[in-house]
Every structure is written in structure tokens, then in C-alpha cells.
Amino acid sequence: MIKSGRGLLALAACIAILTLTHAPASAERDFTELEDQPGFVPSEVDEQLPPQFQRQMVLYRTTEPPGTIIVHTSERFLYLVQGNGRAMRYGIGVGREGFQWQGLLKITRKQEWPDWTPPSEMIARQPYLPRFMAGGPGNPMGARALYLGTTVYRIHGTNQPHTIGSAVSSGCFRLVNNDVIDLFERVPVGTKVVVRQRPEL
């Protein structure tokens, strides 16, 4: 399902060097911190998102059945289809590289407060990172993780809420912890996840 090679190399991990690229003007946000901050525990104020990225019910017409997750990477939104022409919309941060494909996956596993084991590619780039970090507040994986297919891609939380709305990680989709907890409660293992990209020129 996923083209290997460049993609797999680039993603290596869900969280990597935070380099802002190619965010649409509407979604672009300033960065004060450019790298992962393991151990950083965001405050409630940090977790307050700009209005458009706050979780909200929106009008959304689709032929996908209720319960399906649809990710629009270029808009930085994740939709959970509710049926009757509406969907719950979440603001997300998306992969800078590695997630250049689009298509269909399924949620294969759900994990509360996931551990973090940065892969060797990431350690090479950011040698100061821990080799392992147990799940909990301050963990870059955030409060919940939804594993996508057999890939290393995940929908997960974050301890850096200010990265919502940007293309920063090498792979996954990140939500603020409140939102990923909300989504986690709403979807079971087996949920369909449709990923959409901006068309290529």
C-alpha cells in the first residue's frame, strides 16, 4: 500500500527534525521551538488552538460511511465522518516528507500513553534524544496513538501543541492531547482511514 524506499526512509519515525515547509499560508504558524522537546509538558494555555484548528462539528458531505476517518493533509484537517452531512473536524500537524502517498488504511491497534523509541535515523540527526522514553506527559507521542495498518505511521498526540497546523514530522498525523483522547474514544480498531493529498502539478 505504501511505496517503500524514499517514503520509509524519510519517515523512519513519526517525530523527527521539525522543519517547517510548505504549510499553506492559511495554516502556517510561527515556530519558536524547532525541535522535539521530550519532557516538555504543555500547559492548558499552550493547548488552546487557533479557532480553525479547534475540534468542531462541520458540514461535510461524503460517500464514506459514518465512522470513517478522512485526512486532508494539505488543509491540516482530520475528519471523523458522522453521517447526515456532517463530520467532527480536528486540526492536525502532518508529515513534511514520507507521507506523500494517498489511499486507504485501517487502524490496527490503539495505545494509551505510548512509549517512544526514536529510531536510529533520528538519533543520528538529533544525538541528544533519549534512546527510550516511557509513555506519559512530556512524551512527544502524546496521550494516545492509533496505529495505521502495518506501517510505522500513526495518528498520535503531541507535547508540542504549537505544531498543529504545520508540516513538521517525517510521517504521522499529530493532534493535541485532548483531541487525540477524544478521537481515541470514538473509533475502534478496524476503522477505515482515508488519506488525501493535494494533487500534483
Partner: protein
């Protein structure tokens, strides 16, 4: 005698033919809006005198807004220069008459498309640029996710509009009860809501977002996703100028198609080099669609370069980059959750 009569008849006929020909030429010329715009060197665009997000003049007389940008797009297609527009602020009551009387070339003034107007004024609405409709604003603390949860609410609205009828229809057809409180002025509606006199405000969705900015704590209020009436806003042109209608219509479709193709004002140069057939037809590196419209090959590229695609114009004026922050909703592309749908070039 016979001869005189014949020559008189001939002269008479010649004069008649000349007069008819002159009148016909004049009508043809007068009805040719594109030619007149070209000769004038600028587009005359009828806009709202001032409506947040849609049409706003600043102190220096610079106009911005969603409706304003649409006229800039037409100017970009014709002149390769989005500044060649003269904005003519028009009141609601005079707008269609001013268009019919040729005071403006196009009306881009949050006007709802309906049959009665097309018939009554001899006009065409070109394409729906913004799907508006009646919606609801409630306190965030109410945690409502749908208008169907508003049973038993106290609802405030402005009198003298179709709002009241739509409200009654919606609640009745969904077996819900409500108490109504109405005011003549929208400001009073908002005040009453803010002071807690009612727990729901209903009005057009674009209005609700504008009015929310006036509340003491805008963040404490949400506009529900439900839209219960049809108010399709569209640019308007006169009857009997097909070429102009075509140009106005396809200017809008170009902005939508650009969004669908992923073409933006920031990657338009890249798009000019694309080898993807759809993109090539759009930017004019394939086909002669521009010339056939009596424009240039790159007419659509000009629109995107100078003004942007639909999403850019929307977000800048009404969406996330504007104070209004109206989600795309119905105005999202057809393949991304909404109903905005443009025919393709080929």
C-alpha cells in the same frame, strides 16, 4: 412619374436599411460588454457599500473582500492587471437597476440567485460563488453538535425577513418547540443574545460569524454546522451578452478548478511548466481556449497569479486568515466535503 416613384422608393429603402444597420451595429456594440470594458480600460464593478469579508473600502478607498476579489479576477483575465477595476458601491434597492442601466459591467454584491430576479430585471446570475443560508449560533457551553438538539430554546432573530418562516418550518418539521423573540435591528438581536435573553440566534451563516465578533467573548459561542435555507450568492450580468456571461462564469470556474488541480498563486510558475494535460489546458500551454473566449492563452493563469484560486480568496477574506473565520462548509470543493463544483475545461 413611374421613374420618380421608383427612385424615391429606392432612396427610401436605402435610408431604411442604413438606419436599421446603424441601429443594429449600435445595439451590437452597446451589448458587447467586453469590447466596452477594453475600450474604457477598466471594469466597472458593482459592490456592497460595506460588508465584512465581502466588500470593504478602507480610508484610502482601497477595496478588499471576497466579492471585490472576484472583480479583480475578471480584470486580471482581461488586462493582466487586477487593479483595473472601478468599484461602484451600490445599495440593495438600486443594484439590479444600476446593472440593467449599464452603470456597471458586473454586479459582485452578495446577491441571492432566484428566478424572480432573473425574470424581473432581465439578468443572468453567472455561477454560485458562495453558498450562504440560515444557521444558528449558540453558547459553546451548551455543547450542542446539531440544530436538532435545540428543542425548547429561546430563539432571537431579526424581523422583516424570511428568517422567521424558515425557523418555524425547521422546528415544526423536526418536532421541536421554541420561544421566539424578534427585533427590528440586528444589533439588538445580538445584544439580547449576549445579555442572556435568548440562547440561540438565527440568521444567515455569514452574518452570524460577523455578529459573533461583536459579542463580549466571541470564543464562548459557536455557529452550528446546520444550514436550513438556500441563499446562493452569485455575480450578476445583463441578459443578451452571451460572451460576457461566458467570461464571468469561467473566471469563477477557473478559480475553483485551480483549487481542484492544486494550482495556487505561489506555484503558478511551476504549473506553467507542468506536463499534466489538465494543468496544461488550464494554464494555456495546450489548446486555444483563451483565444476562443477573445482573451489570451494564459487568461486563467493570470487570474491565479494576480488574485489566487478559490481557496486562497476564501481564506484571505472569509476564512481562517480573516477575522470572520468562517469554515468552508458548503463552499468546500465537491470532493472535499462541500458542493462547489466547476465544469472542466475539456
Amino acid at each position: 412619374m413611374q421613374k420618380t416613384f421608383r427612385s424615391g422608393l429606392a432612396i427610401g429603402l436605402a435610408v431604411a436599411v442604413a438606419v436599421i444597420a446603424a441601429a443594429w451595429t449600435y445595439i451590437r456594440y452597446d451589448a458587447n460588454t467586453l469590447r466596452k470594458v477594453r475600450a474604457r480600460g477598466e471594469l466597472l464593478c458593482g459592490v456592497n457599500t460595506g460588508l465584512p469579508g465581502f466588500s470593504n473600502p478602507d480610508a484610502q478607498g482601497n477595496w478588499t473582500g471576497f466579492d471585490v476579489d472576484f472583480c479583480r479576477a475578471i480584470a486580471a483575465a482581461i488586462f493582466d492587471d487586477p487593479t483595473k477595476v472601478k468599484f461602484v458601491p451600490l445599495d440593495a434597492s438600486e443594484r439590479f437597476k444600476e446593472l440593467r442601466d449599464r452603470k456597471v459591467d458586473v454586479l459582485s454584491r452578495n446577491s441571492t440567485w432566484n428566478l424572480s430576479r432573473e425574470l424581473g430585471f432581465g439578468l443572468h446570475f453567472a455561477a454560485v460563488s458562495y453558498y450562504d443560508g440560515q444557521g444558528f449560533m449558540v453558547r459553546r457551553s451548551k455543547n450542542a453538535e446539531s440544530a436538532l438538539e435545540l428543542d425548547g430554546s429561546k430563539v432571537c432573530f431579526q424581523t422583516g425577513t424570511t428568517t422567521q418562516r424558515n425557523l418555524a418550518d425547521y422546528f415544526r418539521s423536526n418536532n421541536m418547540k421554541y420561544q421566539e423573540t424578534s427585533f427590528d435591528r440586528l444589533e439588538d438581536v445580538v445584544k439580547a443574545y449576549d445579555s442572556g435573553q435568548c440562547d440561540v440566534v438565527t440568521s444567515d451563516v455569514s452574518q452570524l460569524y460577523a455578529q459573533r465578533l461583536r459579542l463580549a467573548n466571541p470564543r464562548d459561542h459557536v455557529i452550528l454546522a446546520d444550514v436550513i435555507s438556500k441563499d446562493p450568492l452569485a455575480p450578476v450580468v445583463r441578459h443578451k451578452d452571451d460572451d460576457w456571461l461566458l467570461l464571468v462564469k469561467w473566471t469563477f470556474f477557473a478559480m475553483l478548478n485551480a483549487e481542484e488541480l492544486g494550482i495556487t498563486s505561489s506555484n503558478i510558475d511551476e504549473a506553467m511548466k507542468s506536463t499534466k494535460p489538465e494543468v496544461m489546458r488550464f494554464v494555456g500551454t495546450e489548446g486555444t481556449y483563451g483565444e476562443d473566449m477573445r482573451l489570451t492563452k494564459d487568461w486563467a493563469a493570470r487570474i491565479i497569479r494576480h488574485v489566487g484560486n478559490y481557496a486562497e480568496v476564501y481564506e484571505r477574506n472569509l476564512g481562517a486568515e480573516s477575522p470572520l473565520g468562517i469554515p468552508r462548509g458548503l463552499n468546500q470543493l465537491w470532493n472535499a466535503g462541500g458542493i462547489q463544483y466547476a465544469p472542466p475545461i475539456l
